[in-house]
Each structure stands twice: as C-alpha cells, then as structure tokens.
Point group: C2
Chain length 203, copies 2
C-alpha cells in the first residue's frame, strides 16, 4: 500500500468513527427527551407513584423539584423523608397553613399563583431533571390557575426535563399534551370497610 | 364529704381514668393494624407507588423490607437510592443474574423459593413496619411459588406490619385477602408512540 493509500485508509477510519459519534449524538437527541406524565383517577397511588419516581431519579443522580399544591397530612411522610436531601430535592409545599376549606377564593388563587411561580422556576432550570407537580389537577379543577398558561410553561421546559402531574380529574388538554397517562382505579379500599387511615400507608 | 365518700370519689376518678386508657388501647388495637395492599393492572406506577410508600414510611421512622421478585433494569434507580439507607431498608433482589428468560423452570423455582425465604424473614420481623413484595404476582402467575403458602405467610405477619404486593395479574385469592387493591390502567403511553425508555422515568 502506498503512503497516500495508507493516509486515505486512516482518514476513512477516522471519518467513519466520527460519523458513528455524530450519528450516536443524533440518535440520542431524538431518543432522550423529557416526558410529561399524568397520574389521575380515583384510586390510590397517584402521588405515591410520583414519589417513587423521585426515589428512582435520585438513584440515577438526577436532581428533583417537588411542588405540592395541597398541603395536608397525606404528604407528611414523603415530605419529611425527601427534605433530608436538600441538595438533591427542592421541596415546596403550597401556602403554609393553607387549606382548600377556607372558601376564600381570592386567597386560594393567590396561594396557587405563588406555588405556580415556584413551579415555573423549576420548569426553567435545566439542572432539575424531574419536576413533580403534586395535586396540580385539583388547583386546575378549581380554576385557581390558568390552564393555557400552565400548559405553555410545562411545554417550554428544558428538553431533558421530566414532569409528573398528579391528581384526580386531569383536564383533557393536559391528557392530550402528556406522553404517558395512567389512571389509578379503586378496586377495593380498606377505608370503605371502616379502617382508620394508617401511618406510613395513607399519610 | 366524709373520708369514705372522698375515697369513693377518688376511686371513681381513678377507675374512669383507667377505663379511658383501656378503651383507648382497645380503640387503638382495632384501628391500627397492618394493611395488605395490592397494586395490579397493565398500567404504570405499580412498583413506583410501592416505592413512594417506602419513602413515606421512612419519613415516619418506619423500617422497611423490600424483596424484588424480578431482577431487571426497571428497578436500578430505586435500588441504588434505597440501598443508601442500609439501617432503615433491608433490600433484597432475587437471584443475582437471574432472568425469567432462562426457560429453566427448575432453576426459576429454586430462585423464587430462596427469595420467598427472605420475604418470610421480613414477614416475621415485628421491627419491620412495611414489606414490599415487588412483582410477586409474576412469580405466582408462573406457579413458581405456592399461593396458599404465600397467603398463609402474609396472613401470619406481625399485627402492625403493612405489606404491598405489586405486579400485573394479581390472583383472585390475593385480591380477596387484601385490604386495598388498586388497578393501574394505561390510558396513553409514550412507548407506544415509539419513544425510548427514559432513565429516571422508566427505570
């Protein structure tokens, strides 16, 4: 083989290797993108499943943001646990002392809007790989947030960021926008048989 | 009031207080007991929801045992994360290197039986407040474990211990024995639209 032939061969190998790298990057860009998941229905496990995903993400070294749109006993366990990892999980609960029972729609809207601002800050941070918007559907159902604005903010998040929205009664537009929608249905519930809510299971 | 009347009055107060304590204990004994939960169906979130409950339990200072009856990529995130807490979580994955694809039923049964022995050790330990039997339904479906024995072992666990069984195709007898059964149904799935499994979401 002449010196020139050798050079050509080396070049071809180099170029093929380069092409493989570039093709790989293209394939990766196409394959890896952040999913929008919705957990809805009247059954249990909508929020638990989202918090299971938080554990999974942390296991992969992915940073997580959580906004809980209902402050209540139902979340004290997860909150206490995930607040142990302030460097890995940004955890926000809407409106200290806030309840939906105030019947003060003006105040409710204000608290929901504040919580959404926190959500937006997470949805604009490419360092956050997973955002959990727990019980967002309830806030949407009550009309405390503008659905179009919420969808637009979710849509314009970083390419690789996953978002999970939980809560019964997910609006059709959110379901349409989602990549994966799971409906949790109640087959049988201990509560209905008169059993008290159990720590570690129900809250 | 005579000395005798005073004594009677004190006695009555003491007895009422005692009765209140005893009634309280009875109420507690009736109210607080470990639940058997089943997560089944073809949708997502069966295992994630169980792992969300693990986080919730840990937030309450409850010790947890996990046995995964399928070793696979689907669980690497949770496993990596929860193995960070060896004092709080006893984490066992069935059969190192084991797959259901071996078609070696003899070996499969053996591995399943070994995993069940680990499960039984958790189900006999009152210090463990929550036991997750992840994908146990698959092992039952394949006939790798004796359903009656499994139900008997679960039934005879400590009074306050919660158990979560996950996996599609939960047998009717397990559903009958459960306190709470949730069916996760697929409404829409990114996979079906040709999207690759995403780290932190799917596994």
């Amino acid at each position: 083989m002449s010196e020139s032939d050798e050079r050509d061969a080396r070049h071809r190998v180099r170029m093929l290797r380069k092409k493989a790298v570039i093709d790989g990057r293209i394939a990766q860009a196409r394959d890896e993108y952040g999913l929008l998941l919705v957990h809805t229905g009247n059954g249990k496990g909508k929020s638990s499943s989202a918090f299971g995903m938080v554990a999974r993400a942390l296991g992969h070294g992915i940073r997580v943001g959580v906004v809980q749109f209902i402050k209540g006993a139902a979340s004290t366990g997860e909150e206490a646990f995930f607040r142990r990892f302030p460097d890995e999980v940004r955890y926000h609960v809407m409106g200290e002392g806030f309840t939906w029972e105030t019947q003060d729609r003006q105040r409710d809207r204000l608290k929901a809007a504040e919580a959404w601002q926190v959500a937006v800050s997470l949805l604009r941070d490419p360092a956050i790989g997973l955002v959990v918007l727990d019980e967002l559907n309830i806030a949407l159902k009550h009309g405390y947030l503008d659905l179009e604005q919420v969808l637009a903010d979710i849509e314009s998040r970083p390419l690789l960021q996953h978002v999970v929205v939980t809560g019964r009664g997910a609006p059709d537009e959110l379901i349409a926008a989602a990549d994966t929608v799971t409906e949790m249905s109640l087959v049988k519930h201990a509560f209905k048989a008169g059993v008290k809510a159990q720590k570690g299971v129900e809250y």
